[in-house]
Symmetry: D2
């Protein structure tokens, strides 16, 4: 079973650009967080759409790692995002992610995104991922 | 508050073509059921995609009525369906539906579809609905 | 190269429930038609959503057969439908379908749906299909 | 009719964070470009998903301005992205955008994304936008 610490180290190595941190990790579930600053905003002072979609995408990827172990051999094939409410620019974004299907070739999951401290979702995302042929071994926690 | 009986009578009047029945109704939630026969199957003996999408669409519409009362003044604007598993042709389809957002102009909800007796979803649907200007009064329970 | 006649015979054998007919077939493109009668309508006299989604799904399947030959070894994994205008109940539905990607494991295509005689689309659909391991040979034109 | 120069000035004022430039502007159509550098990449050296989705979102917004004039009174409500091919990290991303429906309350459009110099799309996006009540006048070209 992959631990949260192993996953954090893995993300830091494999996705150095991401600001997403992992708050909880289960068997096919994950809760992630993204701090919000000026870079993440768009006109009107709300969090930009690409930031929200990126949080969901990384969070679902983390949920996949929670289910199958650390892997780089998945690729996002579809992401369907419904924008529900304007997220204020002074609160972190939280992503609650869970897998709906873990198949041999396709994985499907959903993510509900929230502004920290508000229980009404700001966006909902369904993501589909293709499992690729393994390319190279991943050293756990390296 | 709309009751399940009022909604059943309303569906029979307004949607005479539908085979969907309402099993539970809440404030923005609904559980619906669709009996499966030869007409609903496709090659391979599984339930056809249009039937699954129709169950989700009617179920989300029912959940909307549970939240705002009986209405014909909503129109589906987007339906995103992920097909997860082949539903066997000898089991009813159950739809668990809930609203994610109830706005002034748009309503968004999600539906998880199951084959009766199996807790793994066969499909997942996100639907978006536009609220139209009222066209005519709806007589409750008529 | 699969001909329109071979495909029509194939659909009649494999999809006896469908009312869709094939009007044109290319390498990854197809134009299909669905006659509209009382069964296809919903309240208000417009064509029902499941019928529209079914036309797009079959039309994209036909476009796949136009590209790879007659096959039953594909399964719809995602269908995203945008409903654009209310299609009148007295006109056939036409689907213009084309593939966006023909991969080894996934195929993606889009369909624009029209009411016959009107050039404004009534719906737009993006479909994703998984290529399955072959199950049995298909006899061309049988 | 909004010109490309007016739109460029408008984007610089209203969306200072965006790197998207406008190459062509029509009545409901737009071609946009996004330069790619290290910031836009993800592991494997390909352009990240959020960048692709952002290009489509801005490009569709530009196409809307081309049809209705400069406006900040639209909000993205849904974005459905199909990732088709891995875009190489050393080529700009081009977005070809066009509106499918320009309604009173909802606007729907599609964007095909390309790596510069390659005619096979790397992603396809369908976006839905809600027209909001006007908030303040936009000074053309300011």
């Amino acid at each position: 079973m992959t631990t949260r610490e192993e996953l954090a180290a893995f993300l830091a190595t494999e996705f150095p650009q991401t600001k997403v941190t992992v708050e909880a990790l289960g068997n096919g579930t994950a809760r992630v967080r993204h701090a919000i600053g000026f870079e993440e905003l768009r006109p009107g002072g709300t969090v930009s759409g690409p930031v929200l979609m990126g949080v969901a995408d990384v969070g679902l990827y983390v949920a996949i790692c929670g289910a199958v172990g650390l892997t780089i051999d998945v690729a996002t094939t579809n992401l369907n995002t419904s924008f529900l409410r304007m997220p204020p620019g002074d609160r972190d974004i939280i992503g609650e992610c869970r897998l709906l299907k873990l198949g041999r070739t396709l994985i499907v999951g959903e993510a509900s995104l929230f502004s920290a401290g508000d229980e009404r979702p700001v966006a909902h995302v369904v993501g589909t991922y293709a499992r690729l042929a393994p390319t190279r071994p991943v050293r756990s926690g390296s």
